[in-house]
């Protein structure tokens, strides 16, 4: 089925005096979290499959600083940003794609003022371009006709006004796309943003991810599609807590496309 992944690093490219078409920014979750690593691999497979000339920073990548910034630690954020910008500018990076909307937002919006200006794309936007350029084929396969609801990550949707790219890809998978009552600009957060991922929630009467999982369950989906490793974790936890694991899967859009193509 799957061949071995070809994931070169920027250092290797530089050694050959070459520039890749795009840098794949993997992100901390994509590098270390077991669930998120699957998304990373699925996306890398798609890049290989579409013969995209890409590279990763590998061990030279480090946290964009998003959770530090949103926790209020501007110092740490800017330290991270400046270090990353030195590395990125050192490699003369022009274009970045990332599977994490938080990295996407930070790189795209908050780095330019600190000296790092790049064309930054979320992986669903990038996949959509590949599709339009005819470099990638997306077909229904095993997802054809399945009921699927898409959860908008805040940092892709509201924060950066991208609601269509992931939906466009899902439509190409010929799924039955059902919207939750709160979607797009009014979509409910999964509960992970603003560094909440890393702490216990404040006292309340419910966890946000449960509230959001209930929204999703109302649409009776076979799959909850996501576009963010943190949303993925929160929704997966929600589905578990609701004992819906046998009925509902939580998958990243990239994973779905890779599975559909049997990659």
């Amino acid at each position: 089925m799957s061949e071995t992944l070809k994931v070169p690093t920027m250092a290797e490219y530089l050694a050959q005096n070459k520039q890749p078409e795009v840098l794949f920014w993997v992100g901390c979750a994509g590098s270390f979290d077991d669930r998120a690593k699957k998304i990373t691999k699925a996306f890398a497979k798609l890049l290989n499959h579409a013969k995209v000339d890409f590279a990763v920073l590998g061990t030279e990548e480090s946290c964009t600083g998003d959770p530090a910034k949103r926790a209020g630690n501007e110092f740490l954020f800017q330290m991270q940003a400046m270090m990353n910008i030195q590395v990125l500018n050192g490699y003369e990076v022009k274009k970045i794609v990332t599977t994490c909307p938080h990295c996407f937002n930070t790189l795209k919006n908050e780095y330019p003022e600190l000296g790092g200006t790049y064309e930054v794309m979320h992986h669903t936007q990038f996949l959509k371009t590949l599709l339009e350029e005819g470099r990638l084929k997306v077909e229904g396969g095993k997802f054809k006709g399945k009921r699927i609801t898409y959860h908008d990550p805040c940092y892709l949707g509201r924060a950066n006004n991208e609601y269509e790219a992931p939906r466009e890809l899902l439509r190409k998978l010929e799924v039955e796309l059902v919207e939750m009552k709160r979607c797009k600009s009014r979509g409910l957060c999964c509960g992970a943003g603003g560094a909440q991922m890393f702490k216990e929630p404040e006292k309340g009467d419910k966890d946000i991810n449960l509230e959001r999982t209930e929204d999703a369950m109302e649409t009776q989906p076979a799959i909850i599609a996501a576009g963010c490793p943190f949303c993925n974790t929160m929704m997966t936890d929600g589905v578990k807590a609701k004992e819906q694991e046998p009925n509902i899967q939580v998958l990243d859009v990239a994973e779905m496309i890779a599975h559909a193509a049997d990659l």
Partner: protein, 433 residues
């Protein structure tokens, strides 16, 4: 003696406008207590926002029922107030319906005012029912207890009374009813007064006329003491609203300077600060003076509709955080600081601040920075920016982050990820099966 009404009118008018102007100057002074901000981005885009969001109410109709009714009240307010121009001229010159020479067109104007007045009256009654009979949740949150609740009802009563007075004034105006031009609603109201003598009708008409204009002046002056300043401030507030992507949080310039110095290999760590260099800045915000002028304008503009709070994921799941309360607290504290200055000339420390005395840490840490509140606000208020500034103060000035966050920050510092994994293992996923 015939000039007595004119003089009385002028006196009332100048008192009404004068006191209002005084309070507006106070609002401006208070807003200027905030930090100056560079207003960047295209002015054309800003005016477009004023046109669409403020004048055009584009974000109000996201909720169609309250949105459409609000548009009626808003149009009614703007259009019926054209009538005030005539009232003022009549009052000053002692004329009666000075514009009536316009004939048909005058009838068209007054006719539309009357129609709008009825629509406004209906809308305001529905608004009252939504608050008090349907008890819509966002109007009954804890921060709405006491004055904010009364304030909201007072405004509705005011509008009911003003609209009723306007219709009665027209209905009892014999001259106007005889013209039979534009009295499309008041002709029916006139029927109720058919048994009255001409003298009593005139008395009622004059009373309604006076009460109407006095009511408008009282309402104007009530604005400063209420949440209702939005009818004026929504316009500048939308103009100064954020133009960049909502996900883009401001980078603190003061921190950039420090970080650049830290990363500069030629910097002398023992150098004494240059002569005349600025005093060390405070990072983040713990009181209203640390916030920006735009944030303070936001606070005065907030009309406590609670759309932000009803979209907030933290609030919906029972956490203490309410973005509306953040705005209300900011204004309350700013007003307190303002009164302090009124009393003492300059601000004298009162041992209080926005943090802890108004906004608790629990509220600040419950935010997921999801931007739902910012998206929901019909007048471009940004409660999230205040939450972030206060978090910055807690972390950078007080090192008072929740412990779990201290752990991830240490991890990021040590191994460049929020989890304690080695940076050298970052690319391991490539070869894992």
């Amino acid at each position: 003696m015939t000039y007595l009404p004119n003089i009385l009118f002028l006196l009332t008018l100048s008192l009404g406008i004068g006191y209002f102007a005084k309070n507006i100057r106070r609002v401006i002074r208070n807003i200027k207590l905030g930090q100056e901000v560079k207003v960047s981005g295209s002015a054309a885009q800003r005016w477009k926002n004023v046109l669409l969001i403020a004048l055009g109410q584009s974000k109000m109709v996201v909720r169609p029922v309250s949105g459409m009714m609000h548009i009626i009240v808003y149009l009614g307010f703007v259009i019926i107030n054209l009538e005030v121009l005539e009232i003022i001229i009549d009052g000053v010159l002692g004329t009666h319906r000075v514009f009536s020479f316009m004939g048909e067109f005058y009838g068209f104007l007054i006719g539309s005012f009357e129609l709008l007045a009825v629509l406004v009256l209906i809308a305001v009654i529905v608004f009252w029912l939504r608050r008090n009979a349907l008890k819509i949740k966002r109007f009954w949150k804890p921060e709405m207890k006491g004055w904010p609740k009364k304030d909201a009802d007072f405004i509705l009563y005011f509008e009911m009374v003003l609209m009723t007075l306007f219709l009665i004034m027209n209905a009892t105006d014999g001259h106007f009813q005889e013209m039979n031009n534009g009295n499309i609603i008041s002709q029916y109201v006139a029927g109720w007064f058919s048994s009255y003598s001409e003298n009593s009708l005139h008395l009622i008409e004059r009373t309604a006329w006076w009460l109407h204009i006095i009511g408008i002046l009282v309402f104007l002056n009530y604005l400063y003491f209420s949440k209702h300043l939005h009818i004026l401030l929504a316009f500048p507030n939308v103009y100064f609203g954020k133009l960049t992507a909502p996900g883009k949080f401001q980078n603190l310039e003061s921190v950039t300077n420090e970080v650049k110095l830290m990363m500069d290999p030629t910097a002398d760590p023992y150098a004494t600060p240059a002569e005349g260099s600025e005093t060390p800045v405070k990072f983040g915000a713990s009181d209203v003076m640390d916030l920006s002028r735009i944030q303070l304008l936001n606070a005065y503009t907030c009309t406590e509709c609670g759309r932000c709070t009803s979209e907030c994921p933290a609030n919906q799941t029972g956490k203490k955080l309410s973005p509306r309360k953040i705005m209300m607290d900011t204004r309350d504290r700013l007003e307190e600081v303002g009164r302090n200055i009124d009393k003492n000339g300059t601000f004298q420390s009162d041992g209080k601040q926005l943090l802890d005395d108004y906004i608790s840490r629990e509220e600040l840490w419950a935010c997921t920075t999801c931007n739902a509140c910012v998206e929901a606000c019909p007048v471009s208020i940004d409660p999230l920016s205040i939450i972030m500034d206060m978090r910055q103060y807690l972390v950078m000035e007080q090192s008072a982050a929740p412990n779990e966050l201290n752990v991830i920050m240490t991890n990021i510092e040590n191994n460049a990820a929020p989890w304690p994994f080695n940076q050298m293992d970052r690319a391991n996923w490539i070869n894992e099966s």
